[in-house]
């Protein structure tokens, strides 16, 4: 393991814990990991069949993670990204390549515990080779200032029979400004699930764009989003799926809760089919928390606030 044990490292690990990360994954040599604070890599660990390289770029780090063919990475790879300073800009430009028939999962925790004005730009290029499987779960922990500006960009290409699961969760602290832009190009018999769960408060502004192009026969893709908006927060979801190949299937599932006067949610599904043997569907619901769910919990003795909290926690879990 290559770790620069410093106060900075300890602080970022502490922030990582607050974001929900398990530090075991950073200290145990059986877990691949990389720890980045600001523009510096503080620690890195590889496991057999998985390679991590990096280089400095302006305002950030370029990271390359590749997995050889036929490798089943047993433990999730832990990615700890964050910025301890109050202000600044961080760019993490990452390339993921997962070899044929390999399987891997990532747990990424992004922490900005003292952010007053921080820009975090996460650009990911993902290539999954034939029958490769990748799960990427990204969880954020932000300060309460609202001064965090996060731009997660994903461009993924899925080979024949590949599978991608991408989850983005942000429910602790203020969102600030979040602009998600995901685009997935799917090959034959590949599958993709995009899942976004965000809790917006005060004047947080959230934009989510998820585009799936079903370009291979029998490809299937779903874009699912769960947003809860309170106070004056606004959420805007654009789900886009194109069915371009025979027997491909796509589905958009958007549920946004608007709990207070002043909070705003919009959902725009954009679905198209260019092959008559493809089928794409969508469902969307926006509004207050379902009355029946609320009253069921109240009929068991919970007050309204506690009932709302339980329902919201479930939705965003």
């Amino acid at each position: 393991m290559d770790i620069n044990y410093s106060k900075e490292y300890e602080a970022i690990v502490e922030a990582y814990k607050k974001a929900g990360g398990n530090p075991e994954g950073l200290f145990n040599s059986e877990y691949a990991s990389i720890v980045i604070n600001n523009h510096d890599v503080l620690a890195k660990n590889e496991v057999p069949g998985l390679h991590i390289s990096y280089s400095k770029i302006k305002d950030g780090v370029k990271v390359k993670i590749s997995v050889e063919d036929d490798v089943q990475v047993k433990n999730p790879v832990h990615l700890c990204f964050g910025m301890l300073p109050r202000e600044g800009r961080q760019i993490i430009d990452s390339d993921f390549y997962i070899g044929k028939r390999s399987k891997i999962s990532f747990l990424a925790h992004c922490s900005f515990p003292d952010a007053e004005h921080i820009e975090h730009i996460m650009k990911s290029q993902v290539t999954l080779d034939e029958k490769a499987e990748m799960k990427y779960v990204e969880q954020h922990y932000h300060s309460e200032s609202g001064g965090t500006f996060v731009y997660p960009k994903l461009s993924a290409k899925l080979g024949k029979g590949a599978r991608l699961v991408e989850e983005f969760k942000l429910k602790n602290g203020r969102v600030g400004l979040l602009d998600i832009d995901y685009e997935v190009d799917q090959g034959p018999m590949s599958s993709c699930e995009l899942l976004t769960k965000i809790f917006g408060k005060k004047d947080d502004k959230i934009d989510v764009k998820e585009s799936i192009h079903l370009n291979g026969e029998y490809a299937s893709g779903t874009a699912k989003s769960r947003l809860v908006m309170i106070d004056q927060a606004s959420g805007n979801v654009l789900g886009e799926i194109e069915g371009n190949a025979a027997h491909s299937r796509g589905h958009i599932d958007c549920y946004e809760v608007v709990q207070d006067q002043g909070s705003i949610a919009t959902s725009t599904p954009k679905i198209s089919v260019t092959n008559p043997l493809s089928k794409v569907t969508h469902e969307a619901a926006i509004g207050r928390i379902n009355k029946k769910e609320l009253e069921t919990l109240m009929a068991r003795g919970l007050n309204e606030d506690d009932a709302v909290e339980l329902i919201v926690n479930g939705l965003l879990r």
């Binding site: 379902n290 339980l310 479930g314």
Partner: protein, 256 residues
């Protein structure tokens, strides 16, 4: 235990309940039977105090206190609870969490055992559409059990479930009674209604007959199955039925 006094309720000028009176005694099963659209579910909503179910007139008395203006939570804290005909789903909420809403005498696993569901299989399940109708109904009853209620309102507990689940649900209802709770059992099924110590027949917002399970269930089978409207009633004494209401204290049908 529970008294409804002269309850009137209407929606868009359509009368749903018209001067309804009933008394659910302590520790008894009180069945309300009626065909679809007679006001049974409305009655459940009014007793539980759900949004949009405030009576236009009349009062609800629970253990001597007037609770007509109480909120749902306030009523629940007094021991009143409701199991809906079609229970709600809770995305992301586990059965364990759902059965741990109140610190009771038992544990979530005990409540599941009680309704015939294996805790090892169900405690970690999410309360969503992956559950069958029967499983969801049983979990709903386990949830009712978990809050140790004094009055349980069961709205069509047998609807949409298989025969095996019906037997389990009947056993749970009897065990509520054994534990000392009163049960208001709302159903359109005379077999289910016959579990009641008392059965009342609700027709277009009024109780037209009340008595022992055998008598009322037979009446229901004979006259209500083919009756689509009180404009064309099928019961033996049509005029009487139309104007009748029940004096619950005496248990006899009296004229208005």
């Amino acid at each position: 235990m529970l008294e409804l006094k002269n309850i009137f309720y209407s929606v868009d000028n359509k009368d749903i309940l018209e001067g309804l009176n009933l008394t659910v005694p302590d520790g008894e099963i009180y069945s309300i039977i009626g065909v679809n659209g007679t006001g049974k579910t409305t009655l459940a909503g009014i007793i539980m105090g759900l949004e949009g179910y405030k009576p236009d007139k009349g009062s609800i008395i629970f253990n001597g206190s007037d609770i007509t203006d109480y909120s749902v939570t306030e009523r629940a804290k007094l021991g009143i609870t409701l199991a809906w005909q079609i229970p709600a789903f809770f995305e992301g909420v586990t059965v364990y969490e759902y059965l741990s809403l109140k610190d009771g005498n038992g544990k979530p696993e005990d409540y599941l055992d009680f309704v015939g569901l294996n805790p090892d299989k169900y405690l970690g399940r999410i309360i969503d559409e992956s559950l069958s109708g029967g499983e969801r109904k049983r979990i709903e009853l386990a949830s009712v059990l978990s809050v140790n209620p004094k009055l349980v309102i069961l709205d069509e507990p047998d609807s949409g479930i298989d025969m095996a689940s019906i037997d389990a649900i009947r056993n749970v209802i009897f065990s509520f009674k054994k534990a000392g709770a009163s049960i208001l059992l709302i159903t359109h099924n005379e077999v289910m209604a016959s579990m009641g110590d008392v059965v009342s027949l609700l027709c277009e917002g009024i109780i037209i007959k009340q008595g022992n399970p055998y008598e009322v269930s037979n009446y229901f089978k004979t006259y209500c199955y083919d009756c689509t409207s009180m404009d064309d009633p099928k019961c033996e004494d049509n005029e009487e039925a139309m104007i009748a209401s029940v004096d619950n204290l005496s248990g006899k049908t009296t004229r208005k």
